[in-house]
């Protein structure tokens, strides 16, 4: 079944996180007014993307960049048709028409630019079709792209407090690293300001304190932490506080410590219903 929704309610960053952590394979279709885009993933990593009116085959792209001749393109297409298993990018590499590094660089640039624009959409319907694969002629990257990198770059283009406030409602929240950010951190490249914030994260300081220590504005710190958070590198937690006081003025009670025997009786009763 497809996952459907609107990026107004469930942001593109959130969806990329879900795709990454869920090792999803399939296509995310996005539509807004007369614009549309398709992002294809394999086991949680981006393999290709295109926007309406900007879609191109891998050979068209390389010809435009003077990295491939028309003759080579035709030859590769024939070879691909004869070898049903491989996509066109793989055929180009097998025939050594282009190096792996160069193909990766060109396709990554094209695909990233297709995706970054989408972070600016304030809304748009999305539909994720599980296991849907791209056309074999699509510009499929030899090495799939980790989404953390996309999230960080996409978040750099966000300038709306509203979206950030949804995840970071207060500057009194403490920032801490997740248990094992190791592999996740590898795909992320940080700008100088982001490093300044990253280096201040210690599981004790609040966003307000990080802002004070780095000299960055609270908005900038929140935006940067929002990026880390969305990429799954950090968590924000509340500072431990005394139990809140109820509207009635009484302190809110801890949940009662119940006896095992009582719980077992309820379990037996519900099982028998």
């Amino acid at each position: 079944m497809a996952l459907v929704g609107n990026i107004r309610d469930f942001s593109l960053s959130d969806f990329l996180y879900l795709v990454d952590r869920g090792y999803k394979t399939g296509c995310l279709h996005l539509n807004r007014l007369d614009e549309s885009a398709s992002l294809y993933f394999d086991k949680g990593k981006l393999i290709t993307a295109s926007r309406k009116d900007h879609a191109a085959s891998v050979t068209d792209l390389l010809i435009q960049k003077n990295k491939l001749t028309s003759l080579q393109a035709s030859d590769a297409l024939v070879a691909q048709r004869n070898d049903g298993g491989a996509n066109l990018s793989q055929v180009l590499l097998q025939r050594e028409y282009i190096s792996r590094e160069e193909l990766q660089k060109i396709l990554q640039q094209y695909i990233e630019e297709s995706v970054y624009v989408l972070f600016g959409w304030p809304d748009g319907e999305f539909r994720f079709e599980q296991n849907q694969r791209p056309e074999v002629t699509s510009p499929i990257m030899p090495v799939p792209l980790p989404v953390e990198h996309l999230i960080m770059e996409g978040v750099r283009r966000i300038d709306e407090w509203g979206r950030i406030k949804d995840r970071i409602p207060s500057n009194d929240l403490v920032v801490k690293f997740v248990e094992q950010p190791g592999d996740k951190a590898k795909g992320v490249q940080l700008a100088a300001e982001e490093w300044r914030v990253f280096a201040r994260i210690n599981g004790k300081d609040t966003l307000a304190e990080i802002s004070q220590k780095t000299g960055l504005s609270e908005f900038d710190v929140s935006r940067i932490v929002y990026g880390f958070l969305t990429a799954g590198l950090v968590d924000v937690i509340k500072k431990p506080k005394p139990l809140p006081v109820m509207a009635t003025g009484r302190p809110m009670a801890e949940p009662p410590r119940v006896k095992r025997g009582l719980v077992s009786r309820i379990i037996n009763r519900i099982r028998g219903m």
Partner: protein, 176 residues
């Protein structure tokens, strides 16, 4: 006579009333009125006070089920309802990602300050395009120890399973 309490919470139209109706032994007491705000776009009647259900465990023990009001303006009720509760079921409408943020807000309210035993019930799993429990765990960014359970609140067996899973969590935290 000892009474214990469980709370069923979730965003508007998550299925709280239906959940309690499916399992309660008494006619569920719902103080429902005609909706006057944007919730009327979702359903004609929406809960503005609370639902109350009851299961007799034995002659000397009764389980009460309370459904919280969904709308934000009734947040103050949550405090009152949550006092002394045994555990909490958070219901999510698995077909409406627009309610996930509100669900997180509710979880945050009930759980952040206290070690409340709770489970998340991914309701409406019988509907097309329902997000699976695994997908909801990721979407709500729930830690691995929190149970996210498939649920169809209209079905008694499904509701029973959710309550039992919550009771197993409570059992783990209970004392000899």
């Amino acid at each position: 006579m000892q009474t214990v309490k469980m709370v069923i919470s979730g965003a508007v139209n998550a299925g709280k009333t239906e959940f309690i109706k499916a399992i309660s032994e008494i006619e569920v007491v719902s103080t429902e009125r005609r909706a006057t705000d944007d919730t009327k776009l979702i359903k004609k009647e929406t809960t503005v006070a609370m639902d109350f259900g009851r299961i007799a465990i034995a002659d000397d023990l009764v389980l009460h089920l309370f459904g919280t009001p969904g709308q934000k303006r009734f947040d103050f009720m949550w405090e009152i309802l949550s006092e002394g509760m045994l555990g909490l079921v958070i219901l999510v409408d698995s077909t409406r990602p627009e309610t996930f943020r509100e669900t997180n807000r509710i979880i945050d309210f009930f759980v952040s300050y206290r070690d409340t035993p709770y489970v998340v019930a991914a309701n409406k799993q019988d509907k097309p395009n329902a997000w699976s429990p695994d997908e909801l765990r990721l979407a709500l960014r729930l830690p691995p120890h929190v149970k996210v359970l498939p649920c169809v609140a209209a079905e008694r067996e499904s509701v029973k399973q959710v309550l039992l899973e919550l009771l197993y969590v409570i059992l783990q935290q209970s004392e000899e």
